[in-house]
């Protein structure tokens, strides 16, 4: 085993003269968020709302998203990180850090999740390290060691090309070991999760449940002090009310506008619409274990009979682009050479006849019971598809269940045809192919098409082991060709996300994931 130490842009610390203009009124940016966070420790939770309020403003990862995801050691059995010196932690009433960030913090944060006997493995009932488990970290990393105070090493069980992307994910946020020690000594270990201390651009001030989360700029932030002084999340669950607040200036930025409001927002002189191609895919999965979907021709015929343009216009209100692959075009290795199945009901009918269904057939279509960025209105989409399929003689019964039940039943393979989707979490193509179409995900419940194709599986598994991105991309392209030909899905759309922002906000950029970053933002 060879240790190929390479330094990443790990927690870079740049001292910046904090703007000394204290004579000006404090700049407060108000963000109308869509819901309450479940908590403030990003290790426990997986919902975007919670991560947006915890890991995004307050924490840093060993590898920041978009940085270093392409630098992987050729044989990849150990990853050594030289840590950036001078990274400061936040402070609060209970805790004043006496030292900067170092290897102990990385070890504490990681081992808390990896070691079930760690004193912080269980600080409150029902707590799980869900993402850590989901990403299979235990089967990838053997252990983590402290080489010296500013160097840590991950020793691997097997090479894993997407590992760096995993490290950039929210659950790998680095917490303060010193704070943990102090709270443990005080007999209140759970405080570290409720009153978080991180190294991120903003530090926690207070949380009024279901109402307001307050943060203030972290003066010692390694990436430079944010230009705004205070950041406030005004929790506003109703999208129409968020829009009203944006109009009256009660908030500067709002989350998740209703697709129906987008046109009016674009026309509003006080609002800038920032948009970003989403890292997501909405699709219809055929349960290939059931008749008639075990027949490739039927799957292809149904692909050809769906008018995606009508869906994009009516369901996404134009805020999306038709999908032809399982991954969105923003992701490297996207195969643009693949030709989308044309909308051709006549040809579809022919294919159906060839497959042995000249008089059509009857199917059940399960539609999404929730609103998601990859699918704003499952029911409407289902109705459109029902009408399309009717034209080629396929009678469609529409069905749905409450979300938990939807997931539970699909795990047992009860579905015929099912609407589903995915938002990527780490910017690696592996994060789409393996959880959605991999053979292991049939049992795990992520692969609702229950499609397990040997050639496809070989390609995506091999892509985990090779480290050169070009080689991986070639494998993923092959996988996309197979997925297109075999058609376990009808890929419907990759949605475009919009963040409406008031004119006085300067420098707001959207992120590929659904996170909202404010540390580079200023106010006029």
């Amino acid at each position: 085993m060879k240790n190929r130490g390479f330094t990443l842009k790990a927690l870079a610390a740049t001292a910046l003269l904090a703007c000394a203009g204290a004579s000006f009124a404090a700049k407060t940016l108000v963000y109308c968020s869509e819901g309450s966070p479940e908590g403030f420790n990003p290790q426990f939770f997986t919902t975007g709302t919670t991560l947006d309020a915890s890991s995004v403003p307050m924490f840093n990862r060993l590898v920041e998203f978009d940085l270093g995801t392409t630098t992987v050691a050729p044989d990849g059995m150990a990853y050594t990180f030289k840590l950036r010196p001078g990274v400061k932690f936040h402070s609060n009433e209970k805790f004043k850090p006496t030292r900067d960030f170092n290897a102990d913090d990385v070890l504490f944060s990681y081992n808390r999740m990896a070691d079930p006997n760690h004193p912080f493995a269980k600080t409150s009932p029902g707590q799980t390290f869900a993402y850590f488990e989901d990403m299979g970290m235990k089967s990838i990393v053997d252990h983590i060691e402290k080489v010296d105070a500013m160097t840590v090493r991950f020793v691997m069980k097997k090479p894993e090309a997407p590992f760096m992307a995993n490290l950039a994910m929210d659950f790998m946020s680095v917490q303060s070991a010193e704070y943990a020690d102090k709270m443990k000594a005080a007999g209140t270990p759970e405080v570290i999760d409720r009153e978080p201390i991180g190294t991120g651009p903003f530090q926690f001030v207070s949380y009024q449940k279901d109402a307001v989360i307050r943060y203030k700029a972290h003066d010692g932030f390694w990436g430079g002090r944010p230009k705004i002084d205070n950041l406030v999340y005004a929790i506003t669950t109703d999208a129409s009310v968020r829009y009203a607040k944006l109009k009256t200036g009660e908030c500067h930025v709002m989350a998740f506008p209703k697709p129906a409001d987008v046109a009016a927002m674009k026309a509003d002189a006080n609002i800038n619409m920032v948009s970003q191609q989403g890292l997501n895919v909405g699709y219809i999965a055929f349960n290939v274990e059931k008749k008639p979907f075990d027949n490739k021709l039927v799957r292809q015929a149904l692909n050809m009979s769906v008018n995606k343009k009508a869906i994009l216009d009516s369901v996404f209100q134009g805020a999306g682009q038709p999908a032809k692959n399982p991954i969105p075009p923003t992701l490297w290795s996207y195969d643009d050479k693949i030709k989308e199945y044309p909308y051709d009901p006549a040809k579809a009918k022919e294919l159906l006849a060839k497959a042995g269904y000249p008089n059509g057939t009857e199917v059940e279509l399960w539609y999404l019971p929730v609103t998601r960025p990859y699918n704003p209105d499952g029911k409407r989409m289902a109705e459109l598809i029902q009408a399309d399929w009717e034209k080629i003689g396929v009678k469609t019964k529409l069905l749905t269940f409450e979300w938990g039940e939807y997931r539970k039943r699909s795990k047992t393979g009860e579905q015929h045809v099912m609407m589903f989707g995915w938002s990527g979490d780490n910017g690696d193509p592996d994060n789409f192919f393996v959880p959605l179409l991999g053979c292991a995900a049939v049992k795990g419940g992520g692969n609702v098409a229950r499609w397990c194709n040997k050639d496809f599986e070989d390609a995506i598994q091999k892509a985990k082991l090779v480290t050169k991105q070009a080689e991986r991309a070639a494998l993923y392209m092959k996988a996309q060709e197979i997925a297109h030909e075999e058609a376990p899905w009808i890929p419907i759309a990759h949605s475009v996300r919009f963040d409406p922002v008031r004119k006085e906000v300067i420098g707001y950029k959207m992120d590929a994931t659904a996170h909202h970053y404010f540390h580079k933002v200023d106010l006029k």
Binding site: G126, A130, D134, D210, S240, V241, F401, G404
Partner: protein, 335 residues
């Protein structure tokens, strides 16, 4: 009076048992369970599913779960939320003042407007005034809160700019929660603007929530007043030469109020139910919004605890109302 109270208290016990049983079984009749609801698109491994099921105590027989829930509730332990991992009692109590504050203001508005409106309508029966009051109250009663709330926001906040859209206080005021009642807390903070801001934030949600009780109270007052005005003792009072004010205000109103007070007591339930929608629209951090979220996510402990606590409030209020009858109408005391 004492035996009356005793009888009322004795009735409370089976009511509580009924509520716990009802909530316990209803939430379990809904499809899905708290663990399944935690899983996202990725799904959840069987291993973790079983582990969490065990941790939440959901792998035990139902009767055992119920008895344990009862036993714990009797000891004041409502369990931990499956979502936030925090004690349910704490979750409830931090949000409850917001709901109380909103409900009380809504009720106050309903009384201040509803009572006089009802009286006037009764006195001016079959006039344009009566018809317009009753017409308005019927409209108010039929208006969906969600739509009404949004309409208020669009008119008074967005178009006219008179009131803030939502929340409990303007963002610039970071008022520490001492009592949990924003009006009181903002008064306690030495900032004069804070109280004003808190009041302005209360107006629209109080109107949205208070409209239905207002309509009910106005209609109830009118019909009850009409009945009483026909009574012999009112005619006697008039014959005695008492002024209209005295006849209406003392002789009639006091008797007419009895069914109205009952209605007010019952409206507390309506208020708590209406609070669910009002709180959602106005981003009001109370228990209504919290409970809906808990139901969506199948947070059994939060739903069970939250409804039990809300039911307690309603039972207590109705108990107080029953006692108030005696105060208002001495004849009832003797029964």
């Amino acid at each position: 009076m004492f035996s009356f109270l005793l009888r009322r208290f004795a009735l409370v016990i089976p009511t509580f048992l009924g509520i716990t049983l009802l909530v316990f079984s209803l939430i379990r009749l809904l499809p899905g369970d708290p663990v399944e609801a935690l899983s996202g698109e990725r799904g959840m491994t069987d291993e973790r599913y079983q582990r969490l099921l065990h941790e939440f105590g959901l792998d035990r027989p139902l009767w055992m779960q119920y008895l344990e829930y009862l036993w714990r509730a009797l000891h004041g332990d409502l369990g931990y939320s499956t979502i936030t991992h925090e004690p349910v009692f704490h979750e409830f109590i931090t949000r409850f003042p917001a709901t109380i504050e909103l409900s009380m203001c809504a009720m106050l508005m309903a009384l201040v407007i509803g009572l006089p409106a009802g009286i006037v309508a009764a006195l001016k029966r079959n006039t344009v005034l009566d018809y317009s009051v009753m017409g308005a109250s019927l409209t108010g009663y039929s208006m969906p809160i969600f739509w009404w709330g949004l309409l208020l926001i669009l008119t008074f906040s967005v178009t006219l700019g008179w009131t803030p859209v939502s929340g409990r206080i303007a963002i610039q005021y970071d008022i520490p929660a001492v009592t949990g009642f924003m009006l009181v807390d903002s008064l306690l903070s030495s900032d004069a603007g804070a109280f004003k801001s808190a009041v302005s934030h209360l107006i629209l949600p109080a109107i949205a929530l208070g409209t239905i009780p207002l309509a009910v109270i106005a209609r109830m007052t009118r019909s009850s007043m009409l009945e009483v005005l026909r009574e012999d003792y009112v005619r006697t009072a008039r014959a005695k030469g008492a002024s209209t004010l005295r006849v209406v205000g003392v002789h009639a109103l006091r008797n007419a109020l009895i069914p109205v007070v009952t209605t007010i007591g019952l409206q507390v339930g309506t208020l708590l139910a209406g609070a669910i929608l009002t709180e959602t629209i106005f981003s009001w951090p109370g228990i209504g919004k919290w409970l809906v979220e808990a139901i969506h996510r199948r947070d059994y402990p939060a739903v069970q605890g939250g409804i039990l606590m809300s039911a307690t409030v309603i039972i207590v209020v109705n108990l107080v109302v029953d006692m108030l009858y005696g105060v208002i109408n001495p004849r009832i005391r003797h029964q």
